[in-house]
């Protein structure tokens, strides 16, 4: 097995800086579609096998508690430069996997909360989550063809968002539109960082 033999002809590898943005929102709101619209790879799926025994909420009566759950996270990649790569992670839709979010959220640049005006309440949980952890996020209102359109301000009011939080109408299928949403998130993150720095410097 000489699989690891093969030396010489290797160029020095570039070790990229990697960043991530989360894409959250209710089930079926278009998270994977959004990732797919800008990703250079078909959204990949990664899975984590969870044993229910690892979760504090379960009481271990009976063998049923040993059943497992597989949580899938879809993600995409955008190589901005050879040494700068942005990953987009769609968060698991089911509420009971919130604890996995912590790991996703750690070190993330920011988040997109996708909303559907017909089921606005589906994104409340995600908004609460990011607000509490002070993770910069923007709300993308995915304009489904069959849904009524509402101005961004109305959505902002309905969601009771802080003034600084950007709300953009978007089409999760459209690359240009998704790019704009992502730029909005990064700009918002940048503005927040600047404000924090200024506050710290008095």
């Amino acid at each position: 097995m000489a699989i690891l033999g093969r030396s010489a002809r290797r160029k020095p590898t570039v070790e990229p800086v990697t960043l991530k943005i989360l894409v959250a929102g209710g089930f079926g709101v278009g998270k994977t579609t959004l990732v797919g619209a800008v990703s250079e790879i078909k959204p990949l799926r990664t899975e984590e096998t969870l044993s229910e025994a690892g979760r504090p909420v379960d009481d271990l009566v009976g063998v049923e508690a040993k059943s497992t759950t597989t949580v899938a996270m879809d993600f995409g990649r955008i190589t901005l430069r050879e040494d700068l790569v942005l990953y987009l992670f769609g968060t698991p839709g089911q509420d009971r996997f919130w604890f996995l979010w912590d790991e996703l959220a750690q070190g993330s640049l920011g988040a997109v909360v996708l909303a559907d005006t017909r089921r606005l309440e589906d994104c409340f949980a995600a908004i609460d989550y990011f607000e509490r952890r002070a993770i910069p996020f923007a709300v993308g209102v995915n304009c489904f063809d069959e849904a009524d359109r509402y101005p961004a301000d109305m959505v902002r009011q309905a969601l009771d968002l802080d003034d600084g939080v950007p709300v953009v109408l978007c089409d999760a299928r459209d690359r240009q539109s998704v790019k704009e949403v992502l730029v909005t998130v990064v700009r918002h993150a940048m503005a927040r960082a600047t404000a924090a720095r200024e506050a710290a410097n008095g």
């Binding site: 690891l4 590898t13 960043l19 990664t46 096998t49 059943s67 597989t70 996270m73 640049l109 700009r187």
Partner: protein
């Protein structure tokens, strides 16, 4: 406690269908769910093959999955998430395997921006410009 002596038969299917998948992926890690001295690897931590991994004959302590990881990372450094997806393994398993390879100095891992610290403003600008240029 069941009064019915046959209760065991009724529940035995749990072991076959549901207990199985818990265990199987972790057989590759010999049951380990964490690796010694390893902080939890972020999903976007990048795994880079060391040059010495090229020169070294395959070691018999390496599982085929270890070899696969080194192979994948040799030409292009790969994130933990990409490795898991490419090898179709749970993230937890990939973390342990990568930990083994780090211990053997066959790969190293670049840490993403530390949590709670935003990347430099200049990097954020680069991200914005990069996105616009797509």
């Amino acid at each position: 406690m069941s009064s019915d002596g046959k209760a065991g038969q009724g529940t035995s299917h749990w072991f076959d269908d549901d207990a199985g998948p818990v265990v199987r992926p972790y057989a590759m890690t010999r049951g380990r769910t964490t690796s010694a001295g390893q902080h939890r690897l972020d999903l976007i931590a990048v795994v880079v093959a060391e040059t010495r991994a090229d020169d070294r004959e395959a070691d018999h302590t390496l599982a085929p999955e270890h070899v696969d990881i080194v192979e994948l990372c040799r030409s292009t450094p790969q994130s933990v998430a990409e490795l898991a997806s490419e090898l179709d393994l749970p993230i937890g398993v990939v973390r342990v395997l990568v930990g083994d390879l780090v211990a053997q100095e066959l790969v190293h891992v670049t840490r993403p921006v530390p949590p709670a610290e935003l990347p430099d403003e200049s990097i954020l600008r680069d991200v914005i410009n990069g996105l616009r240029a797509l």
